[in-house]
Structure formats: C-alpha cells, structure tokens
C-alpha cells in the first residue's frame, strides 16, 4: 500500500515536472485572444452589443464578461466563428441586441443639411466629410451602416439606403428544391 502511494506520488511529480517544462520550453507565441476576437468582429462600431465599439466588446468577451451572441451586424457567421475560436457552443443571436439585417449605408439629404457637424462627431469611422457650416456628405465606401449618425441629426436629413445587388456582387444562392422563379431585379 505504502509502496503504491510512494510510486504514484513520484510518478505524478515527475510527469508534472515534464509537463511544466514542456509548457515553458515549447510555448508558442500567439496573438492575444482579444486581437483574435477583434479580427472576427465586423467593425461596424455601432454599439448594439452595449459596448462602445468592437474593441471593447472583444475585450469583454476575452474577460468572460460578455456573451458571444451580442453582435447583430456580424450575424450567425460571426457567432459561429467566435464559438469556434473560444471553444464554446454557438447560440442564436440575442434578440435584445437587435436583429441581423442586410448591409445598409446612409446618405445625407443635401437640401436639408444645416452643417452642424453633430453627425461627423458621432461617426466612429469618420465616414462623413464636412465642416461647420459646410455641406456634409457620406463617403459610402467607408460607411459601415452603424446608424449612429441618425439620432444626433437635428433636422433628420440622414436616410438609410440598402446596398444594391448588382451583377458584380450577386451570389449564387444555396440550392433549394423546387427551383424558383427569378424575379427581375435592378
């Protein structure tokens, strides 16, 4: 009995030492998990996840304070990727934070704009060009569709526009049976 205990104790100690040494000697440098999480997020910076941007949300997830299903612009694909990265089960998007919808951009109605710069201050990626008392305009290619500029505008001149499907961004849909009629677009 005693010999068994001693033997196992020594074995455990030896194996523990080997494992510890291996953990240090063969340690692989990898990105901090916050960077890896941030790389998966869509960078809309909209705040729908209740954090002030994508990076704070990534940090919260890394600290275990936030769940992986709080990002509506990312949708199911982001949740799956986060679940894969963090080794947790994927779950459906939390409806409290909003719904996943098609990518949109905003546009400013130039007849109404008064040049107050409130929207410029609100835009997290500086996608609105303008200055005080100068015309404001949205750079559509940089707009992430976060819609943060819409509440501050005092004259409600900012409108949401869906991104149009053209020949260049059309995608073959996944097969479904039976085949359906194509409705003419564009």
């Amino acid at each position: 009995m005693l010999t068994a205990l001693i033997t196992f104790g020594i074995l455990a100690a030896v194996i523990g030492l080997v494992l510890g040494y291996a953990a240090i000697r063969f340690h692989v440098e990898s990105d901090p998990v916050v960077d890896q999480i941030d790389a998966l997020l869509p960078q809309t910076q909209c705040g729908q996840c209740t954090y002030a941007g994508c990076r704070p949300y990534a940090e919260a997830m890394a600290a275990g304070e936030a769940d992986i299903n709080q990002c509506p612009p990312g949708g199911a694909s982001t949740i799956l990727a986060l679940a894969d990265l963090l080794g947790v089960d994927p779950k459906p998007l939390n409806p409290e934070h909003g719904e996943h919808s098609e990518k949109t951009v905003v546009t400013i109605d130039e007849q109404v704009c008064i040049g107050c710069t409130l929207c410029i201050q609100a835009c997290p990626v500086d996608a609105i060009l303008g200055a005080a008392k100068q015309m404001h305009t949205v750079i559509a290619s940089e707009c992430t569709g976060c819609d943060l500029c819409i509440p501050p505008c005092p004259v409600e001149c900012i409108h949401v526009v869906p991104v149009k499907t053209t020949l260049h961004n059309w995608i073959w849909p996944l097969p479904e049976t039976p085949p359906r009629e194509v409705t003419a677009h564009g």
Binding site: W172, P175, P179, R180, E181, V182
Partner: protein, 341 residues
C-alpha cells in the same frame, strides 16, 4: 417570353440510388438461393422478418422526424441492410433475433445518426454484432447442412421454438466449419485431421463454399454494372489471402489455406456487399484499398486468434472507425498542383 431558372448541368442525370440498391439485391439473389438450398426455409424467414421489421421501423422513425416516408423507403437501402443482416444470421434462429437485430440496425445504427448517408458504422454489421454479443448461444448454432426441415417445421421452430418430432437440437444444429476448426485446433488437432470431417467440402466448408462462390459471382456482376468499384473487394480479398498465405507457409498444419479463408464464412459476402457500403467506407480511391486491406487483415486475425469464429463483422466496424482518418491521409493530388507532401 419568361422561363424557369435551373442550375447547371441541365442534362438528365444518369444514375439513381434506387436502381443501385435494386442491383445489389439482384446480385445477392444467387447466393441467397444457394443458401436456401443448403440450409432450408430458415434463410427465407430471416430475410422476411428482418425486411419487414426494417421497413416498418424506418417508416416509423421517418414519420417521427417529419420526413417523407414513402419516397425515402423507395430507395431500398433499408431493405438491403435487412437482407445482409439476415444472410449473416443462423437460419434456425428464433424469430426475435432478426427482428431485434434489424431494429437496432435501422433505428439506432442508421436513423439516429441522421438516416441514409450519415451513419458512420455499417448498420447491418452493427446489428449483427449486437446480437452476437447479447445472444451468443442463438447465434452460433447453425443448422446442419443435411437436416432439411420442411416449411411447417421451420415455421414452428422459428416462431415457437418447438422442435420437430423425433429431432433434438443436436441433430438439427451444429457448429459452422470455422467454429469447428477453432474448437478442434484448441484441442491440438491438426488441420489435415479436422478436414476429414464431413463438415468440409472440396475446398472450404461444405455448403459454405458454394454460397461464397455465388456471392462472388454476384459481386463480379455488380462490378461490371459499376454499382461498386474494385478497390474495396480487391483490398479485402487480397489482404485476407496474403496474410493467410504467409501463415499457411509458416505452418500448414495449423493455419488454413488462403482458398479456404476466401470461401468461408462471410468473406465473399463481406467483400462485395458489406464492406462496399459506401456510406461507412472510405471515399478516396487509395483510401479504399487500404480500408479493404485492413478489413482483410483484421478478419484473418480475429478468425485465427480472436474469440469469434468469423471476424468480418468486427473487422468492418473497426475499419469504419478508421475510415475518416484514412480518407484524410489519402487525399489525391489535385490537377495543377505538385506532389502532395
């Protein structure tokens, strides 16, 4: 004028799962008739019981899963599973043996994993192994080739366990040739002595050699019709014959000839019908050869040194476990790329 939208290719498709399954059943027919001829009505009862249970079980599960039952049953895969299982069972087994085996094969080994195309293990062999381990006695008592019970007697025996007048269990059942070899080798007899018994025929077990021969011919027809490919049968039979040859050369007194190994038990049935089940086998061409060789080797090992007389079922299930790994390491080189590392 407006038209409907479809995806290419647009030519009508050449192949069909139902036709493939029908051809498999057709190829099984010669061997089945031979088995009926040698072992009697029990074979037919097994097939009927297993078949009906399989179809009923699949229909019930599909209803539970809200899938279209009739169209799925029509593809014939449940029937093929049932027939293969029935052919592996002893002809005089009680009625509940094929029923339980078939239920397990269809419900647990196939439908619970997602139905056709999703099962990792061969359902017929899974059902057979469950029976073998749970009811070893019933599964090793094979009918004696000479004792032809008539239809009514078989019916009575299978459903009620009532023995025919004047017969005892010993007279109508006996061990299979391979079972007999195993027992007697354990008693230190040599093969030449064992082969003298009436259990053995021209080149393999009496009766068994013909059944295997018909399965071989049926399998070759399937190859010809391109329902199966040559890789798995060649691998399995080649592997089995090769290892048998090696050991036969070492000690002919204890180890049977390759010919005996190839025509005994479920070797031919396994090579052409069981191991070639595409869902649970490997998919890459090279992988299939290795898969077949693995089954052949394991069959020989279990037959010679394992606890069971025939190792095909276990060999198939063990190689099913290995199939995804073999697939992963035998990926073919893609056109336009250099050699795979």
């Amino acid at each position: 004028m407006e038209f409907k939208t479809y995806s290419s290719p647009h030519l009508p498709v050449a192949n069909n799962v139902a036709v493939m399954m029908q051809r498999v059943l057709l190829a099984l027919l010669p061997g089945t008739i031979c088995a009926f001829w040698i072992f009697g009505w029990g074979v037919i009862f097994n097939i009927l019981l297993a078949g009906i249970t399989a179809l009923a079980a699949e229909a019930a599960i599909l209803r539970l899963r809200n899938r279209p039952a009739f169209t799925t049953l029509r593809d014939g895969s449940a029937l093929v599973t049932a027939v293969l299982l029935a052919l592996a069972l002893p002809p005089l087994a009680p009625w509940w043996i094929p029923v339980i085996g078939s239920l397990f094969a269809i419900v647990i080994a196939k439908q619970l994993y997602g139905g056709l195309g999703y099962n990792p293990f061969n359902p017929a062999m899974a059902g057979y192994v469950v029976l073998l381990i749970s009811f070893p006695l019933e599964l090793t008592l094979w009918s004696a080739p000479g004792a032809h019970l008539n239809f009514l007697d078989t019916l009575a025996l299978v459903f009620t366990g009532q023995l025919p007048v004047g017969q005892s269990l010993d007279t109508i059942t006996q061990a299979t040739p391979m079972d007999s070899i195993k027992t007697r080798l354990g008693l230190s007899e040599t093969l030449s002595e064992i082969h003298g018994s009436p259990l053995f025929g021209h080149f393999a077990g009496a009766g068994w050699e013909w059944i295997n021969l018909w399965f071989l011919l049926g399998g070759l027809w399937l190859l010809q019709m391109k329902v199966i490919q040559w890789h798995i049968p060649a691998g399995m039979l080649g592997g089995l014959a090769a290892i048998a040859l090696v050991f036969y050369a070492i000690n002919p007194d204890i180890f049977s000839t390759p010919l005996f190994q190839l025509f005994s038990g479920a070797a031919m049935l396994g090579a052409f019908f069981i191991a070639t089940d595409p869902v649970s086998a490997c998919t890459t061409p090279r992988g299939r050869i290795y898969y077949g060789i693995g089954i052949g080797l394991l069959t020989y090992i279990i037959r010679t040194w394992g606890g069971y007389p025939d190792g095909v079922a276990f060999a198939v299930l063990l190689m099913n476990l290995a199939a995804p790994t073999i697939d992963h390491y035998t990926r073919p080189r893609v056109f336009g790329h250099g050699d795979r590392e």
